[in-house]
């Protein structure tokens, strides 16, 4: 995900047309978007969230910030004015109408393309229609989130789907989200379909006789029978579960129908009772207990939960055997929203595989990983194989800044033999080996520089 240099298909930099005057027909909002926004970001959570287009320390007056928050879910329908001479030119220059993806057509994890102009009209010759790629990370009704990186000025920009091809899915509502002063790396979107329904109703309601104009608004892609409507989505994402242990919660992954792996810091004690919630294919909550948790000193922050009942209908992930730096990966976890929403999917690449004695002991990715994602699965986006267990993102202890897009996972190859033995025999001894990781492995997980060689004793 990220701002990509564009292909040379359209030589950027060609002189733009002069700006055309336009008139405001109406301002509109999507009531369902506002309701979900209030549910997810309002109430007690409001203190934690900021959507201002600047960084938390930027000088934005409280009034301005309040204005921005009030307007966050509002959009405007304009009509471009054209004089006679330009009318014919307009007809051509304005470009093709878009087709709109019906709400719910695009599943979580599906690729999305955001198109906006960072900094708005500040420098359109350079920034107009800048692209950014990502996936649909989460959705709550018409409130959508993507990890495609967007910047201030792209509010109102279109977000398009690969399937249905080129369909307009949403508009950017807030490019930057800050939670507890940390940039989350997700962009808030408002689905286009309900917006256009609202626009049609408002046009006809405000301007009787404007049915013809309302009919100019783009149809939903479903109207074209030939296009496949449903994107298959990510079936393997269903293995991600929410793990709750008293007041602490995090993510986990089902590795067998009655076995869930998560992080020790999510379920700190063996024998602790744990509630595991799955969201896909249907919502289920199953009790279990911690059968194993690594010790505090172990570099592998891992715990294993045995469930009282099977997780039905969830495809069990295939553990990977190899890791390929640069491959496309996805993290699925309950970070950011926890119980308030289903799991989020973020995309990126496997940015590093750290080895000790030729064995992978740490994976790094560029996916956005947030507090609450710990214990969740890291998948190969191509194969759906389980690559690892997300353990943490990165915090700079000097500045206190958190970096969601630099995160660390425990390779599944470290865990798989022990998990399999326990699953088949109930024997914990292999899992206990995780408490005896070698010093070089500990050095890696302490993010310390490995010693080139063991210093000799001077005695």
């Amino acid at each position: 995900a990220g701002l990509e240099p564009r292909s040379s298909a359209r030589p950027r930099g060609r002189p733009l047309q002069p700006p055309r005057p336009a008139e405001l027909l109406l301002l509109l909002s999507c009531p369902a978007f506002r309701a979900h926004f209030a549910r997810l970001f309002g109430g007690d959570a409001a203190e934690q969230w900021r959507f201002a287009s600047g960084a938390p320390d930027d000088e934005v007056s409280e009034d301005e910030e309040e204005d921005q928050l009030r307007a966050l879910g509002w959009f405007a329908l304009l009509r471009v004015r054209s004089g006679e001479a330009a009318a014919e030119e307009d007809a051509d220059e304005l470009g093709a109408a878009v087709a709109v993806a019906p709400l719910g057509t695009v599943p979580k994890g599906a690729p999305l393309l955001a198109c906006g102009s960072p900094f708005g009209a500040f420098c359109p010759d350079i920034f107009l229609n800048t692209l950014s790629r990502g996936v649909l990370s989460n959705s709550a009704g018409p409130l959508l989130l993507t990890d495609a990186r967007c910047l201030p000025g792209t509010e109102g920009g279109g977000v398009f789907a690969v399937r249905p091809a080129g369909a307009l899915v949403a508009l950017v509502a807030a490019p930057l989200c800050w939670k507890a002063r940390e940039w989350v790396g997700l962009t808030l979107l408002c689905a286009a379909s309900p917006l256009l329904h609202a626009a049609r109703a408002a046009l006809v309601g405000l301007h009787p006789g404007s049915e013809v104009l309302a009919a100019q608004l783009p149809p939903e892609v479903g109207a074209m029978r030939s296009l496949p409507l449903q994107d298959p989505g990510l079936p393997w994402a269903a293995a991600a579960v929410l793990v709750e242990c008293s007041t602490v919660w995090g993510s986990g992954v089902a590795v067998a129908p009655r076995l869930v792996v998560t992080c020790r810091h999510v379920v700190p004690r063996e024998e602790a009772r744990v509630l595991v919630r799955s969201a896909i294919p249907k919502s289920a909550a199953i009790w279990g207990h911690v059968v194993f948790a690594t010790q505090e000193m172990s570099p592998y922050d891992i715990a294993v939960v045995s469930l009282e009942k099977s997780l039905d209908g969830i495809p069990m992930p295939v553990p990977a055997e190899h890791f390929h730096e640069g491959e496309a990966v996805s993290v699925v976890g309950f970070g950011v929203f926890g119980q308030a929403c289903g799991p989020s999917v973020t995309s990126g690449i496997l940015s590093a595989v750290v080895h000790v004695d030729d064995r992978p002991v740490m994976l790094q990715t560029t996916c956005a990983v947030h507090g609450g994602s710990s214990g969740g699965p890291l998948f190969s986006t191509r194969s759906g194989d389980l690559l690892g267990i997300v353990a943490s993102n990165t915090r700079d202890n000097n500045t206190g800044a958190t970096y969601p897009h630099l995160n660390f996972s425990i390779p599944i190859t470290v865990l798989q033999p022990a998990l399999q033995q326990y699953s088949e025999t109930g024997d914990l001894r292999s899992l206990r080996q995780l408490d005896r990781a070698t010093e070089p492995v500990q050095v890696v997980w302490r993010l310390q520089r490995p010693l080139a060689e063991v210093p000799r004793s001077k005695l």
């Binding site: 060609r14 005057p21 204005d67 692209l131 408002a202």
Partner: protein, 110 residues
């Protein structure tokens, strides 16, 4: 990008635009701008973000949070609101057209 992104890129290219709002006769008041989507060609209909209109709302931004408000008429903004939309030349324009304009490239001062 791979081939799968072709249609999305083409549509984004054709539909993307920039919308700016200003006050008539008060260039010093500054410019508010955002991105937008061209919904239809003729008449030209554009959908953009509402945030750039808050400074122009007659009744102030509070009107946006009224529970009953799902849409507001165009005249809920002051009369001195001036709007402009800008978009890129059409890559898919009819043959020859896309070459219209000055062939040489320049680096305009922003």
């Amino acid at each position: 990008m791979g081939r799968q992104w072709g249609p999305a890129m083409r549509t984004a290219e054709q539909a993307g635009c920039v919308v700016s709002a200003s006050r008539a006769g008060q260039p010093e008041a500054g410019l508010w701008s955002c991105s937008g989507v061209i919904l239809s060609r003729s008449p030209g209909l554009v959908l953009c973000h509402g945030g750039i209109f808050t400074p122009f709302l007659r009744a102030g931004s509070g009107v946006l949070t009224a529970a009953s408000a799902a849409f507001l008429p165009g005249d809920s903004c002051n009369d001195d609101l001036r709007l402009h939309v800008q978009w890129s030349p059409m890559a898919a324009s009819p043959a020859g057209r896309s070459e219209r304009g000055r062939p040489e490239l320049c680096t305009p001062q922003c």
